[in-house]
Every structure is written in C-alpha cells, then in structure tokens.
Symmetry: D2
C-alpha cells in the first residue's frame, strides 16, 4: 500500500483522524467563529438586512471551503485506506451519505 499523500487524513481504529492541515483548519474555524460573532453584532446594532445577509453569505462560503477540505482529506485518507483493506463499499456508502448533505 503506497503511503498517503500530504492531503490524506491519517486514520486509526477506533477512528481518530489527524487532519493533515490541522492547525490551518483550526485557524480557519477561529476566523469563522469571529465571522459569526460579527453577524450577531450587526443584528444587535440594527444594521441593514442586506449587509448582514452578505456577511452570512461570506460565512457560508468559508464553511463550504472547510467542508470541501475535510472531504478531500477524508477521501484521500480514510476512504482510500478502507477501500485498500477491502471495506470499500461501506466506506463509499458512508461517503455518498455525506456528499448528499453538501450537494445542492
């Protein structure tokens, strides 16, 4: 089995997964948390609806990017590993359940 790429999540049993870009992910989510607080402050300060909606949209885009990164790590790491060790169909069913949640 060839070693995981730098994009791959490193999976263990019971499943603990060290995200390859763990620190970057945590920084991103800290920023997302700040964006949520920013939206909350805009509502508190009676700011214009459209300005708030634009911030919510920016926040959603930031979360979408985090989700795609996690999905990329998962497919290169855990899912690929599961397929190589003969548990492919279960891993792919699990993947598709997640993909459907993020699909339009």
């Amino acid at each position: 089995m060839k070693s995981s790429t730098s994009k791959a999540a490193v999976c263990h049993t019971p499943p603990t997964v060290v995200q390859p870009d763990k620190e970057a992910l945590i920084r991103r989510l800290n920023r997302v948390e700040g964006q949520v607080r920013g939206v909350n402050k805009m509502i508190l300060e009676d700011r214009y609806c459209v300005d708030i909606l634009n911030q919510v949209s920016a926040l959603q885009s930031a979360l979408d990017a985090v989700a795609m990164l996690l999905l990329e790590n998962h497919t290169h790491g855990c899912m690929q590993g599961a397929i190589k060790s003969g548990k492919g169909d279960e891993a792919i069913d699990e993947l598709m359940t997640v993909v459907r949640k993020f699909a339009r």
Copy 2:
C-alpha cells in the same frame, strides 16, 4: 400604506433595521457560534472526518435558516417599503443580488 406585518423589518434612513425577532436571531447565532466551537474542538481532538462533516452540515443548515429569516424580514419590511415609496426597481435589483448568493 398599510402597517408592516410582525415579520417585517422596520427600516430607517440611514438604514438601521430593527429585526422583528431580534432576540431570537441573537440566540440562534449564539447557538451557531457554539456549533462552530464544537466543530473546532472535534478537529483538535482528532475526531473522525465524517462525524465532523455531519456537524458542519448541521451548522450550515442552522445558518441557512437564519439567512432565510433575515431575507423574509427584509422583503416584508425594507423591500416592500421601498416599492411603496417608488424605489422598487433598485430594491428588487438589490434583492436579486442577495438571492443569487444563496441560490444553488
């Protein structure tokens, strides 16, 4: 001009808008902030990618609901008011710009 419904944002110039359900919105965003922190903690604790993705999806749904509520307030309040005072086309162009951001 008939008075705004309870769903309508109350708009002023320069635009400050008191959301009709301001306290509920703030509570919801406090909960969203907690959800973001929860996702961050899961990454820190090396939790399974799919479990994290499920939480991100729940978080997105919570934000979608907030966005739709703000959009509802905006259309019933500010946009309706703008149309009644003869600034309809500008208000509708502005609305469509926002709708496109949340459209799939």
Copy 3:
C-alpha cells in the same frame, strides 16, 4: 405608479404572464432540452461517468440561469405590482416559498 421596466413580467388576471424576454427564454430551454438529450446519449453510448456528470453540471447551471431570470422578471413585474396594489404580504410569502426552493 411608474411603468414596469423592461425586465418586468407583464401580469394579468387570471394570471397570465408575458415574459419580457419570452423568445430568448424559449431558445434557452430548447438548448437545455438538447443538453438533456446529449446526456441521455452519453449514457446510451457508455461514456465515462465523470464526463457525463460534467455535462449534467453544465445543464444544471443553464437551468439555474433560467430560474434566476424568471425570478427577476417575477419580482420586477408581478410581485412589484401586487405590492403596489396592496397585496404585498401575500405576494412576498409566495416569493419566499419559491426562493427557499432554489436556496441551498
């Protein structure tokens, strides 16, 4: 009441609506129909899944654009008209029901 812009749908009762860009819309939908037939042919000819999915994605984008155009016509025309004639809240509730269907 100022006259509708060129973007506005022209509404009548019982609701018949002449889309301002009716011919362009019909041409677009003819093209979408061709794209659907193209996807069907790809499946028939056992083409590669990813190539088919890319075509389905292009097709969805074409439909999204049609939907946004119809929504723009509707808001500038019918909805604005309803608001000016005092039936705003019903028209906005109807709009929001549609927007939710196209929101992510």
Copy 4:
C-alpha cells in the same frame, strides 16, 4: 479484488462505462426531457411565473437525483477500481473536482 456490487459502474479502458441501471437512467432522462418541454410550453402559453418556477425546481430535483446516482455508480465502480489498482490519488482528485461542482 472483490467483485463490484450491483451499484458499481463497470469500467473499461479506453473508458467506456456501462451504468448498472442504464435503462432506468435513460427512462429518467426521457422524463426530464419531457419536463423541460413542459416548462418551455408554460413560457410559450404565458403561464404564471411562480408556477413555471415550481416546475423548474422539480426538474432540478430530478436532475440532482440522476447526478447522485451517477456519482454513486462512479465511486463504487470506476473510482474504487482505480484505487485498488494503485491510481487512487488521481481518481480521488477527479472525484473531488466533480463533487465541488455539485456542492452548494
């Protein structure tokens, strides 16, 4: 290598892929084609915008379902096969490119 499940696309080189539910997919796309013609007819007949938008939304849902089915076939078949034959990272990058197109 365990044999593909009934959900798996059967892949060949140069890539031709027999979809496991090929006839059902073709029937679905025939129905989608009919839905597109239906939408076109509604525009031609000056039907109410909101009624047309509801049909476009139904059409989008039908296409989403086709896309998810193709994606499921692809991941169980071609992608799983590629991973088992050592071309996993390329196959997963290709998958992620497609998933991003259908993600919100």
